[in-house]
Symmetry: C2
Subunit: 245 residues, 2 copies
């Protein structure tokens, strides 16, 4: 998020440009090698600064990686917002968010890897309070956008109110999405489940959960292929490579 350039001094701007340079290279290393298989020395070399300079921006390797993840998460929230504005029924809009999730997984493949590490307390503890808050903030944005659609669906009686609360419904969608992404990463599961297109597998599971929530119109009663094409055309004008009709 480029803060307003007018109130910044040249120094501050240079500092920010360098931070983005570091983040870019760190993301590349994360994608290419994961977390362990590179060190701060190598990153310093890549950005053509010394190790000490890196530590002027980040308190630890974990802090840096969390910053990369938060950057990605901000993108996801932005995509969520755009998807939520899709013109259609509440279920169609939640579907657009499902697409945003897949697009996110495709464009920010390092994210889920970092997300897994975030579950371990020791990782989280090594990051700075500032970055932890930034990450929580973007996470909360994503939750709020989806939850808002669920609440609206219940208000419009497109989803029954008596079975589950809006929070339970939102939680179910979030859980199945994360779980599906995690499981599709596992080669063994891919074989056992016969998965050839991971993104499609994720979306099928989202359909199952929405149907389980009785979110009308049900997937099993309704053909969403027209909606899907509109979502791709209107929300993701750039090519979406993972979609198979």
């Amino acid at each position: 998020m480029p803060a307003d350039l007018t109130t910044q001094t040249r120094k501050e701007r240079e500092f920010q440009v360098r931070e983005e340079l570091i983040l870019t290279h760190a993301r590349r290393l994360l994608i290419e090698r994961g977390f362990q298989a590179w060190n701060m020395e190598q990153l310093a070399e890549a950005v053509e600064y010394s190790k000490g300079t890196l530590y002027q921006h980040f308190t630890s390797k974990e802090d840096l990686v969390l910053a990369v993840a938060t950057d990605s998460l901000r993108n996801r929230a932005d995509w969520f917002e755009k998807a939520a504005r899709f013109q259609g029924s509440t279920r169609e809009r939640s579907r657009a968010i499902g697409f945003a999730c897949c697009e996110f997984a495709e464009k920010c493949p390092e994210y889920f890897h970092v997300e897994m590490m975030l579950k371990s307390a020791s990782f989280w503890e090594k990051a700075s309070e500032e970055r932890r808050q930034a990450h929580s903030f973007q996470g909360a944005r994503c939750w709020r956008i989806l939850n808002h659609i669920v609440v609206e669906a219940m208000a419009l009686n497109e989803m029954p109110r008596d079975s589950f609360t809006a929070e339970e419904a939102t939680f179910a969608l979030v859980s199945v999405t994360v779980g599906s992404h995690v499981m599709t990463q596992e080669p063994q599961i891919r074989v056992q489940a016969g998965i050839t297109n991971p993104m499609q597998a994720v979306r099928i599971n989202q359909d199952i959960v929405c149907d389980g929530l009785n979110w009308k119109p049900l997937f099993r009663d309704h053909d969403y292929s027209k909606t899907d094409q509109r979502i791709i055309a209107e929300v993701f004008p750039e090519a979406v490579n993972w979609y198979k009709a």
Copy 2:
């Protein structure tokens, strides 16, 4: 799995006893502190052997931790088997497996933590081929048990065959379960979703997916509380602490 004691020499038996001692202490450290916050030296001290001896059993710290995880996973598969033998409809039996998952999460809290680490290639690579295979084997057992019930449900027309394949249905259940466990670990999500009982949240999500798969009798049409009590009484005779009616 204690191999047959008769064909083993005394040495071999002692070796095995020591391995179990190491695994026990490693599991305790994993639960108490996670993966990072203890080192091999401390573990060696705890088991009253030297570091070098640990490396006669395990090729690396990761190899050791994978062994702990596989031990737990074997327990889960055993619980799955027991749950699958529950007398009832296919959906009731899948419900019993859902309970087994919760019981597992409660009794082996270190497992999900390790499972997350297994997603990173570098971790997996540091473990020995032998232990990787053992882990895959137990994972496959769990899959097979659940998948078998799904196949049977379709054969008995308790779940429609035309919407999803048996593998897709199994995958959906596995995904939502893993995802729910992962998400309930996250304090922020707990607050946002208003979760007070994580295990109940997991089971709700399983109900939603089963309903989405149109697995009869549907949760929304049927009261499963009697079934739940039977499952607890018959499959988990020891106290189940997390269940709230």
